[in-house]
């Protein structure tokens, strides 16, 4: 079968995927990887940026192996990283339910869910180690939900026909992160990890072509300081906040990854963004972020809108036969559990048709009446009590009595820094883990797979693959007194000065909102070439205006939230441009990337495997002679030897 494309592979993108039978590749690769002698490990110093699931698990497991680790996070404590907010669960191919699950099925579902835009080898490894993750988390004391008899409970979760999702009430991310955090703090207590909270990485230091350190701003004192190491791990999450409104925490940003990109790390599939179907709708112009309602709600809630346009009756006044349960109608075999991109787009379609509900007409109902009648209100409360309560707090409406109103919101970014099978970027010594990389979810991530990937990368991949770098390359001793550190530090200081000295009239937040709105309009749930071209022009104008007209009060030599935000917004402008370019170049629809020009007659995404079955990785090229194009594209063809490329049907 192999690749259906005639795409030429870029020599810059050696995936290093092992060959041979799929199920044996990871163990074969592990055997072939070099090892670092236990006595030598303490001589290697690893810098881990970000302390979410990927960062905390990586830092703790590398420290357990004996490496010397420094861990950096922007929050006041590593326990507050945004992984903490994941609600629904974590997938693993344990097949504890005897319902037909297997490593191969999880692999297949993930490849298909990603709309055939991820690497087979990576995804299979993810499915393989998923079973170890659950073991590891239980050993750390994660209180997963259990059955009466004491065995682990599972549920089925968005887009899966088997029950393979492990969960801890609606707080799975919290419990997994606190588990990983406790392991990290144990290493901090033992002196194996040095922790730097409230530190933001503002640049990467590359010496002789190898990542050898970072430059940080101490967010409390404003001090700019360098840290040298033998490897740098970016575990800094996704870039959904480019849209301003998203389910991401307020501090989530692209800066660390973007600085690395500008130092030579290629950025892949920037346009693949996940819009989550079940979020609380926007309430007004003051809105600062969006709140997700776990899609586990779709197990019992039925999604509907009125059949008639402009129906303003309250939901209980609309009789059954005048309701359109559109997911059940369009996708009978998956119904309300259809994957995220499909469900989001379907919600957008019915609202665009004028059948949306609520004051803004930009929401759909998620109705629990049938489930409450079937199982009783107490049972529904035991399953979703905390989520219902959260909804009621935010909207002032009681979902036990009236249907919830939901609308899609930006939730996750599948794109990110390009990495090979070892999770190493195109800058040697720079590894990228978790949401920050592009690797495992293709064009769309399945529910309960983000937690899985973060922990897979940190606990079970990087401890092996980092040795290829540490043992395989000659790494001379380097300290922060090296000229390159001084040069990069100077650049960081000048950039801060430039922002501070703009002395304009507008806050970074106002620019960020404007950028977000533009991106949501033109590069959101649906995109088209004209809109993207228009966005590119506007983004550049807005970016230029930003550097002239931004206003940052206060001092740079102390805690300054506005200054922090200002630096991140500056990077979001550049990323936004790349996202639009990536979306414009990909003349197909796949997963979270829906180009209106490329759809089937019934409005489904239409892939073009002949021309676009590749990961598109962009190289930053500031010296471009035309002065217009700041990036050049490299392609990694995706080869499918074990699954058949098919239209992704959930009907």
């Amino acid at each position: 079968m192999s690749s259906p494309t005639t795409v030429e592979a870029s020599s810059k993108l050696a995936s290093k995927c092992p060959s041979g039978p799929l199920a044996e590749r990871w163990s074969k690769h592990r055997f072939e990887l070099k090892l670092v002698n236990p006595a030598n490990r303490r001589k290697f110093h690893v810098l881990v940026v970000g302390t979410g699931l990927a960062g905390a698990s990586a830092a703790s497991s590398l420290a357990e192996l004996g490496y010397s680790v420094s861990a950096f996070c922007i929050q006041d404590s590593p326990r507050r990283a945004h992984s903490i907010a994941a609600q629904g669960g974590i997938n693993a191919a344990k097949n504890y339910q005897n319902d037909g699950d297997s490593v191969h099925r999880l692999f297949y579902d993930t490849i298909k869910g990603g709309d055939f835009r991820a690497r087979e080898s990576n995804v299979h490894r993810l499915a393989e180690v998923s079973v170890n993750i659950i073991d590891q988390c239980v050993a750390l004391g994660v209180p997963f939900a259990r059955e009466y008899g004491g065995l682990l409970a599972n549920r089925s979760f968005g887009g899966a026909q088997v029950s393979r999702t492990f969960y801890a009430r609606g707080q799975t991310g919290q419990q997994l992160l606190l588990g990983a955090y406790s392991g990290l703090m144990r290493q901090v207590g033992e002196g194996q990890v040095k922790l730097y909270p409230r530190h933001e990485m503002l640049d990467l230091v590359v010496i002789d072509g190898v990542a050898r350190g970072i430059v940080c701003r101490d967010l409390t004192t404003g001090e700019i300081k360098s840290y040298a190491g033998d490897a740098v791990l970016l575990c800094t999450g996704g870039y959904g906040n480019v849209f301003y409104l998203s389910t991401n925490a307020k501090a989530c940003n692209v800066t660390a990854a973007w600085r690395a990109h500008k130092r030579g790390a290629l950025f892949a599939n920037a346009c693949y963004t996940q819009i989550h179907p079940t979020c609380i709708p926007v309430s007004g112009s003051h809105q600062s972020k969006l709140t997700l309602m776990s899609e586990s709600l779709r197990n019992d809630g039925r999604v509907w809108v009125p059949k008639a346009k402009g129906d303003t009756r309250s939901p209980e006044q609309i009789p059954e036969d005048e309701r359109d349960y559109y997911l059940e109608r369009k996708y009978p075999s998956f119904g309300n559990l259809s994957p995220r991109d499909i469900s989001s787009r379907a919600a957008k379609q019915v609202c665009d048709e004028g059948r949306g509900v609520g004051a803004s007409k930009m929401s759909v109902f998620l109705d629990f009446r049938a489930a409450i009648e079937r199982d009783g209100v107490d049972e529904i409360r035991s399953r979703y009590g905390n989520l219902f309560q959260m909804y009621e707090r935010i909207t002032g409406e009681d979902p036990y009595r009236v249907p919830m109103r939901i609308y899609p919101a930006v939730h996750y970014t599948m794109g990110g820094l390009w990495v090979d099978y070892n999770l190493e970027s195109t800058v040697p010594g720079l590894f990228v883990l978790g949401e920050a990389n592009f690797s495992d979810h293709g064009a769309n991530r399945l529910g309960a797979s983000a937690l899985m990937q973060g922990l897979a990368d940190g606990y079970f991949v990087i401890p092996y693959t980092i040795a290829a770098h540490l043992a395989g390359r000659k790494l001379g001793k380097i300290s922060t007194s090296h000229d390159e550190f001084k040069r990069v530090e100077q650049g960081v200081r000048e950039r801060i000065e430039r922002l501070k000295n703009a002395k304009g009239k507008r806050s970074p937040d106002s620019f960020h909102r404007e950028l977000g709105l533009l991106m949501w309009d033109k590069c959101g749930m649906a995109r088209n070439a004209d809109g993207l071209r228009e966005a590119l022009v506007k983004i550049r104008e807005l970016r230029d205006a930003y550097w002239q007209d931004v206003k940052i009060p206060g001092d740079a030599a102390e805690l300054n939230n506005v200054l922090e935000h200002a630096g991140r917004v500056a990077d979001f402008f550049e990323l936004a441009e790349l996202m639009c370019m990536d979306a414009l170049h990909r003349n197909e629809s796949c997963g979270g990337h829906f180009r209106e020009e490329y759809q089937t007659p019934d409005g489904e995404a239409k892939r073009d495997d002949a021309n676009f079955c590749y990961a598109g990785a962009w190289e930053y090229a500031p010296e471009s002679p035309s002065g217009k194009v700041g990036w050049s594209m490299h392609k990694e063809p995706l080869v499918f030897e074990n699954v058949k490329l098919a239209e992704r049907s959930y009907k």
């Binding site: 404590s77 945004h82 004391g141 009060p553």
Partner: protein, 269 residues
């Protein structure tokens, strides 16, 4: 098919049903740095939408301050969903305000009256020094966890997850305690600035589970020792911590902490 204007509407969402906006007087604690003196500064807002969250109300105020060339109010926040534990604020004397089991970021302005006066202060405790304005340093909590708030389980060494059944009710009790978000409201609400609720939640979570038995004694002794070292006060059974806890962590955990501590002193391992 293009619907950019419709999606635009969803993003900007003009509210179509008018709700009465609130006029509020805020007295906000401003403090330049840990060593500077702080004071209340008064701000008036006259157009607060009842749909705003409390922190969005502060965002609006901050935007106004920036526009006037003044320094905005520093406060910690991140997820704004009540789970990261970053937000703090003592609102009219109560950590996280008056709503039960609610973090500051989850409070909405519809809970306030038109014309109301609101005092906003940092979480106050000697062990939580003020960094700036409403931001405090809660690093002491991390150091307590580093001292012993974990189960030692090296990656790669775990047995099969179902090898050790844990009765559903035991797992649920452990989860009740594990739900702590580490915000520090328990400390801020306590007249002794005690961290007993925080420490007891972690000790309970891990002591209840069979995986946690091997380190049970060492854990509680080490965590309590670090807690004392950080300068937190003692518990005098006022239960203010439970009332302030946004996650409803029960003071029954403190009773368990005391038992665990005595047991460890008496029996060791």
């Amino acid at each position: 098919m293009s619907s950019s204007h419709d999606t635009h509407a969803s993003h900007a969402a003009a509210p179509t049903h008018e709700k009465k906006h609130l006029a509020l007087t805020l007295h906000v604690w401003r403090q330049r740095a840990a060593t500077s003196e702080g004071k209340f500064v008064t701000y008036k807002l006259d157009d607060v939408s009842p749909d705003m969250s409390f922190l969005e109300m502060l965002d609006v105020l901050n935007e106004r301050l920036i526009a006037n060339g003044e320094e905005p109010i520093a406060f910690d926040h991140d997820c704004r969903e009540g789970i990261c534990g970053a937000c703090s604020l003592t609102i009219n004397g109560q950590p996280h305000g008056f709503e039960r089991e609610t973090t500051t970021c989850q409070i909405h302005m519809r809970r306030f009256e038109d014309g109301q006066t609101i005092y906003i202060e940092p979480f106050r405790a000697n062990a939580f020094p003020v960094v700036k304005d409403l931001v405090v340093d809660r690093g002491a909590f991390d150091r307590i966890i580093a001292a012993g708030g974990f189960i030692t389980a090296r990656a790669g060494s775990a047995p099969d997850a179902n090898a050790l059944p844990i009765a559903g009710d035991v797992a649920e009790s452990a989860m009740d305690a594990a739900a702590c978000i580490g915000c520090g409201a328990c400390v801020a609400s306590c007249k002794n600035a005690s961290a007993m609720l925080f420490v007891s939640a972690k000790v309970s979570h891990l002591a209840l589970l069979p995986q946690g038995q091997a380190e049970r004694s060492r854990r509680v002794l080490a965590m309590v020792e670090q807690m004392d070292k950080e300068g937190f006060g003692n518990c005098t059974n006022e239960s203010e911590c439970e009332a302030a806890c946004p996650k409803g962590i029960s003071v029954a955990n403190i009773a368990r902490l005391n038992r665990e501590y005595l047991r460890a002193l008496a029996c060791g391992d």
